[in-house]
Amino acid sequence: MAFGRSGAIARNELRILRRDPTFVLIMLGMPLIVMAFTKPAFRAALIADGVAGANGAEQAVPGAAVLFGLFLVGNIGFTMFREHGWNTWERLRASWARPSEILAGKVVVPLAISALQIAVLFTAGVTFFGLHVRTSVVGLVLVAIGFGFALAGLGLALMSLCRSVMQLNAITNLSSILLSGLGGAITPLSTLPSWARHIAPVTPSYWAMRGFRAAILPGGSANQAAVSAAVLAGMGVICAAVGLARFRVDETKVSWA
């Protein structure tokens, strides 16, 4: 694989994003607003959950990061559907680039946005919301990386499985909220019904929240965070494998046109 051609695709994605950065600004701004009004409610929930001295940021910050991180999943698929809408997909196929190089280039920018989002939210959490990373900053970074892999894999899978941009929109929006809810990102896991707690471990949001909590809250450990990161990376690999197995370069995707 030539990184130069993947780089060319990634730089083009970045230029397109630069022309209209609204999406990125919303994905960075909205979670900050959500964090501001959920933090007080989570304080009580966390104290009831036995987290002494919690101020609510311990749930609000990683919860918002996971929820809005999942909203980025659709972005990977959208960058591909956009190529079909602009008729540039055939041109890319007729170029020197292999499909794997094109896909790699497509994933880079959403991954970078995910990394930026987590960095901004946790920095803002520490600076403005009183978040203390009490156990392991390294563990937190590992979980963020693992979560990025999971998002990329999920994005590739949905891009391959969806035939139209409408399907992609509907499925990613619905699954973002569903997975966030099940994984304990919208409300702490302890507040969910028992059936939901039983199925939560199949979701990446569960492992992301578990990993973030292990890195943030007292009583956790870098090892626990690393295990979560590994599970997330594994989920990402499985999803990416499903996506790549299903991916057909000559499949006609229905975009807006």
Binding site: G4, R5, R11, R15, I16, W86, E90, A94, S95
Partner: protein, 342 residues
């Protein structure tokens, strides 16, 4: 049963002078279900040659271009680009290829320069060389003043020029242009044709798919006429016209066309065919027979709608080889321009 395309008479090949064969297509076949899109197409294009791939809609032009570009799989046959087997080593073959598909395919949000940059970088053209190439193609397509303008803010003709320029940024050995002037104005068409000529003069083999006959004539291109999935005539334009370009006149009549009788049969200047909606006169001086036939029609002459004079040209070549007018499928505007309304 698969639909078999009717076998057309295949014109004798005219020897071409271009020595280095950049594109070699042999026996290419492609079928979509029961529909035969390509039925053993052969095509060869040399370095510096512009080959006008001419045919009505559905003739197989786009299918052929798509297979050469690696977008479709062939059922049978072979394609080599600059000596590389494009059907088995497509990626390596594509390093010698520039392709501008029929549909406009550019990135609307980003600038002209950025569009050219991404397609250059995908062909491993980078740095100072890329900047020089961008300047060169921008100048050839009169896009220099627009380099920093977002593509979405350009006119349709400007977008079409950018679309074609992007295929040339890496100076490929073979350039495939699939109906590059669709929907453009006269000025844009002239600029595109000039750029194509320049590139061919630089040694690029160009496959120029179109259904606009005058463009082929303006380019001075060699011609490959494709119909029902086969290349039925191939050669230099003037030689094809000399060999097959017998002039003709079509007298188009509201049906029923009167049955043939002596007064509407040919005189010394042409042979006459009575078809479903027209009487066709063929011969070197076919136009001389118009008056003779009209008089012979008597009161039926009132039902004559139009008279088309097909002079010795690509159109008469197409007519001579296929037995059909090109207007039946496409390019009606060119034919009507020759028409005489009684």
């Amino acid at each position: 049963m698969p639909r078999r395309a009717p076998r057309n008479r295949v014109a004798a090949p005219v020897a071409l002078q271009h020595t280095a064969r950049v594109l070699e297509v042999r026996g290419l076949a492609k079928r979509y279900g029961d529909v035969v899109a390509l039925d053993g197409a052969d095509l060869s294009i040399g370095a510096g040659e512009i080959c006008g791939l001419l045919g009505p809609n559905g003739a197989g032009k786009t299918t052929l271009a798509s297979i050469v570009a690696g977008l479709l799989r062939a059922d049978d046959g072979s394609v080599t680009i600059a000596g590389v087997d494009a059907l088995h080593d497509g990626r390596r073959a594509r390093t010698n290829l520039g392709f501008a598909p029929q549909e406009l395919s550019i990135y609307p949000p980003v600038s002209v320069r950025e569009n050219l940059t991404v397609f250059g970088e995908l062909a491993d053209v980078r740095g100072a060389l890329l900047r020089r190439r961008i300047d060169e193609v921008a100048e050839a397509f009169e896009l220099t003043a627009l380099l920093d303008r977002p593509a979405r803010a350009m006119s349709g003709g400007e977008k079409r020029r950018l679309h074609t320029a992007a295929a040339m940024i890496h100076r490929p050995a073979l350039l495939l242009l699939d109906e590059p002037t669709t929907g453009v104005d006269v000025g844009t068409r002239a600029r595109l044709l000039d750029a194509v000529r320049l590139l061919a003069a630089d040694g690029t083999a160009i496959c120029y798919s179109t259904h606009y006959l005058p463009e082929i004539e303006a380019l001075g291109a060699s011609v490959a006429i494709i119909d029902h999935g086969r290349v039925i005539a191939r050669g230099k334009l003037d030689e094809l016209v000399a060999t097959h370009g017998e002039p003709a006149v079509d007298i188009i009549i509201d049906p029923p066309v009167p049955a043939a009788h002596d007064s509407t049969n040919g005189g010394p200047d042409g042979t006459i065919e009575h078809l479903a909606d027209r009487i066709r006169i063929r011969g070197p001086h076919a136009a001389n027979e118009i008056a003779h036939v009209l008089v012979g029609l008597g009161s039926d002459a009132a039902r004559v709608r139009r008279i088309d004079v097909v002079s010795a040209s690509l159109e008469s070549v197409f007519l001579a080889i296929t037995g059909r007018r090109f207007e039946a499928d496409a390019g009606a505007q060119e034919v009507v321009s020759h028409g005489i309304r009684p």
